[in-house]
Symmetry: C2
Subunit: 152 residues, 2 copies
């Protein structure tokens, strides 16, 4: 999670919402990514999606059945869906997402027995660090907007 | 939808689950894709995701606010989440997906008022053609498996 948080910080420095993700296989990090939506102009370039794609390239298999995904924010429905499709058995995330969290907050996509895959979930790991990073990013962005309105 | 079905047929010929998708803007087709999961070894390479990414590249904006997405099968939670993130206002799909449909069947992700975007949904357009294509693909795959077990 420390590495995922470092990636989230790097995202913030680029003006991206600070979310980082890593994929681990046999205690070895095989993929790492952060949010790149603005930079890439790509609506699906969330940290989890990029890390999962990278892990699949690394392993040469779309089934990531012996991996764990660490991410600094609770996944949205797109990313939770990608975790299911990649058959990732274990998700560890830092802080909950009250607006679009699809693992515990708004939906429970990873524990729905009607779907053909479920994942073990652990949350709250280094949640303060992740939340502080997100809050500070959005505070800064609001301040910049106010500043730009005043000088505009 | 005719074009999305042609793409789905092409997917089937490649051994991919036959699903096709197109993105339309001002009555003009700006992106088209079919499922490529096996070929690309990429768990997120669903037709909708590939078409959305391609449309964002075409328009140079991750917000596809004046587009419509046509797809031959009801989107799963990953693809429904991607439609929300790309702010696509209109989804037209052919046949429902009883196993993982996240628009009408298992979940109603595109009409959930707690999320910051909703989409207008139309379903059933050319559903027989799409269902027949999917059924024929899975029938063929089962027969091939039986054949391979017999000769194995």
């Amino acid at each position: 999670m420390t590495q995922a948080l470092e990636l989230a910080e790097r995202a913030a420095q680029m003006g991206e919402v600070p979310v980082g993700a890593v994929v681990v296989q046999n205690n070895r990090l095989i993929a790492a990514a952060h949010n790149l939506r603005q930079t890439d102009g790509n609506p699906i370039a969330h940290a989890e999606i990029l890390a999962i794609q990278s892990a699949a390239r690394q392993t040469g298999d779309w089934r990531l059945t012996d991996t764990a995904l660490y991410v600094t924010l609770e996944p949205c429905s797109m990313c939770a869906g990608a975790i299911l499709l990649a058959r990732i058995p274990r998700l560890i995330y830092a802080t909950k997402d009250p607006k679009s969290g699809a693992v515990d907050t708004l939906f429970n996509l990873l524990s729905d027995q009607r779907l053909n895959h479920q994942a073990e979930i652990r949350s709250g790991v280094m949640w303060q660090e992740s939340r502080e990073l997100l809050q500070s990013f959005f505070r800064q962005r609001r301040e910049n907007r106010v500043e730009s309105c005043r000088s505009g």
